[in-house]
């Protein structure tokens, strides 16, 4: 904790504030009728006033994040690479368009914070044409960035207003280059915070940049073993109020994506136990094993209609089961993880305050037995004290 001397770390989540000092970590349930700044200073003002602005570090996942639309020319490279970089930059809401289908893709009606256009190695030209401009004209977006073939950049710049051009994320060996786009998206997140009434006042208490919480957690992963008994390969599951995140060791995937990062992140939007409760229940009802799981937990589906401590516990157990299903070979998703090679599963977020270690172990065992027909048993590690995000914050 020596690095924490004189420092206060704050994580503004969608449902809780967490504060970390050199002595303790505390949490406060958010009052949604109040502005975030007012609520935070009302509940934690006494602590905050003891610290200088330069010693207060804040991360947040409470402002909904940036909504991102990626237009790329192939699923295995341009779309996959850009999606991966966006997830690792802390972005949760991502839609993709495969360029060959752009004319038949329905135009999203919501405001898109950032459009990412990508495709082709630098020696390729004439990838994009009028179809792209026509699509963009219909679209309502705030920012647009091009990270594809260098040869197409002047043509796109001439035809797209306010286009930001960054180096290609696909290098000449078809490997991913993530730093430039990652930095751009992280800065955009920062600018987005500055523009949001609810969040921007947080700069009244800190003179440091506010980062997105998932970005900070991703920074933490290479040093997680300084605090936890975690054996590689491992996954970290963060079940929140609105989304569920999985951060995973790259050893768990077989793919051609070569990056410098040891860890990547996956987001399951609308899979949270508070703000996304309804869609979690919907996903659960569509899983053929869920009724067996409910029977195993000695509850019926009536639990979905309840609003109690017990129902929250069951929802969290369901969330664990569903995300494991989604990343296993049982459900072909964006990434399949080699779960039988897994040594540890780290749990962080509100889940560690609600579920006991044995309740989580029970679900993980159930998953391995039912879905993977295996008695494999990875170690369950609980971040009961919300220490995971504090490690990354101190490194920033």
């Amino acid at each position: 904790m020596s690095k924490l001397e004189n420092k206060l770390l704050i994580d503004v989540g969608s449902t809780y504030f967490k504060l970390c000092t050199k002595d303790s970590v505390q949490q406060h349930f958010r009052d949604f009728n109040k502005d975030i700044y007012d609520d935070l200073t009302y509940k934690c003002g006494e602590i905050i006033k003891n610290y200088e602005k330069e010693n207060i570090h804040i991360c947040s996942s409470a402002n909904g994040g940036l909504s991102t639309l990626i237009i790329g020319i192939s699923n295995s490279f341009s779309l996959k690479y850009a999606t991966n970089i966006a997830f690792n930059s802390g972005i949760n809401i991502i839609d993709t368009v495969l360029y060959k289908d752009i004319e038949t893709t329905s135009i999203p009606s919501d405001l898109i914070d950032v459009v990412i256009v990508v495709g082709g190695i630098d020696s390729v030209s004439n990838i994009f044409d009028e179809k792209l401009f026509k699509f963009l004209k219909e679209l309502n977006y705030s920012n647009i960035v091009y990270v594809g073939s260098k040869k197409d950049a002047p043509y796109l710049q001439k035809n797209i207003e306010n286009l930001v051009i960054l180096p290609n994320i696909i290098n000449d060996k078809l490997h991913v280059e993530e730093e430039n786009l990652k930095e751009y998206l992280t800065n955009l997140y920062q600018a987005d915070i500055m523009g949001k009434e609810d969040i921007k006042h947080l700069y009244d208490i800190t003179s440091n940049q506010i980062f997105s919480t998932p970005y900070i957690v991703n920074k933490t992963l290479p040093m997680i073993d300084s605090k936890f008994k975690v054996a590689d390969p491992y996954i970290l599951i963060d079940i929140g109020g609105a989304t569920t995140d999985i951060h995973y060791s790259k050893d768990l995937v077989d793919e051609n994506m070569v990056t410098q990062n040891e860890y990547d992140r996956l987001v399951f939007k609308k899979l949270g136990v508070y703000k996304s409760k309804e869609s979690l229940i919907f996903a659960a009802k569509n899983n053929e094993f869920v009724y067996e799981l409910l029977a195993h937990l000695k509850v019926t589906e009536n639990i979905f209609d309840e609003s109690s401590e017990k129902s929250t516990r069951v929802l969290m157990q369901l969330a664990i089961f569903l995300v494991l299903c989604k990343v296993s070979a049982y459900r072909q998703a964006y990434v399949n993880l080699k779960l039988l090679a897994l040594n540890s599963v780290v749990f962080t977020g509100g889940i560690t305050k609600v579920l006991k270690q044995e309740e989580i172990e029970d679900i993980v065992t159930f998953f391995y037995k039912k879905i993977l027909n295996s008695s494999h048993n990875p170690t369950i590690v609980m971040d009961n004290n919300y220490d995971v995000w504090t490690l990354g914050m101190l490194e920033k």
């Binding site: 020319i73 295995s76 190695i121 077989d254 051609n256």
Partner: protein
């Protein structure tokens, strides 16, 4: 000329894969090697991203039989983007025994232009160069 290559499916013959890459480079091709354990869709996507002229799939343990049946479907999916790409496959293309007389037409029917079953690498690449010269005449 650009070539995308790699070993299809759950086949990990990395030495053969490296030899193919070196031979192609020695003949002056620009090579994009996806390595072993590559899905069919990844091959096609790599061709799209690099605007390659040739897709050269290899298989040593017979994985090709199960993985390459959908070439025509993928070609149809990408339409004219793949019209000028030469699809080539070589190695040991089936599990067990089989004659080239049976196997070559089968793979051509899957959508390959050039098929080499149990033919040595240099002969296959000579044929590829001959094919490209004829085509570009």
């Amino acid at each position: 000329m650009k070539v995308v290559t790699g070993v299809v499916g759950n086949d990990i013959h990395v030495v053969a894969n490296r030899l193919i890459e070196l031979s192609l480079q020695a003949r002056g091709f620009e090579v994009f090697n996806l390595g072993v354990n590559t899905y069919l869709e990844e091959f096609v996507d790599a061709v799209i991203e690099t605007n390659a002229d040739i897709l050269l799939i290899s298989s040593l343990n017979g994985e090709a039989e199960g993985w390459c049946r959908e070439v025509k479907i993928l070609k149809a999916k990408y339409g004219n983007l793949l019209d000028n790409v030469v699809f080539m496959i070589g190695g040991n293309l089936v599990v067990g025994t089989g004659s080239a007389e049976d196997i070559v037409p089968r793979f051509k029917n899957y959508g390959f232009d050039l098929v080499f079953h149990q033919v040595d690498l240099n002969t296959g690449l000579d044929e590829l160069e001959k094919f490209m010269k004829e085509r570009d005449k």
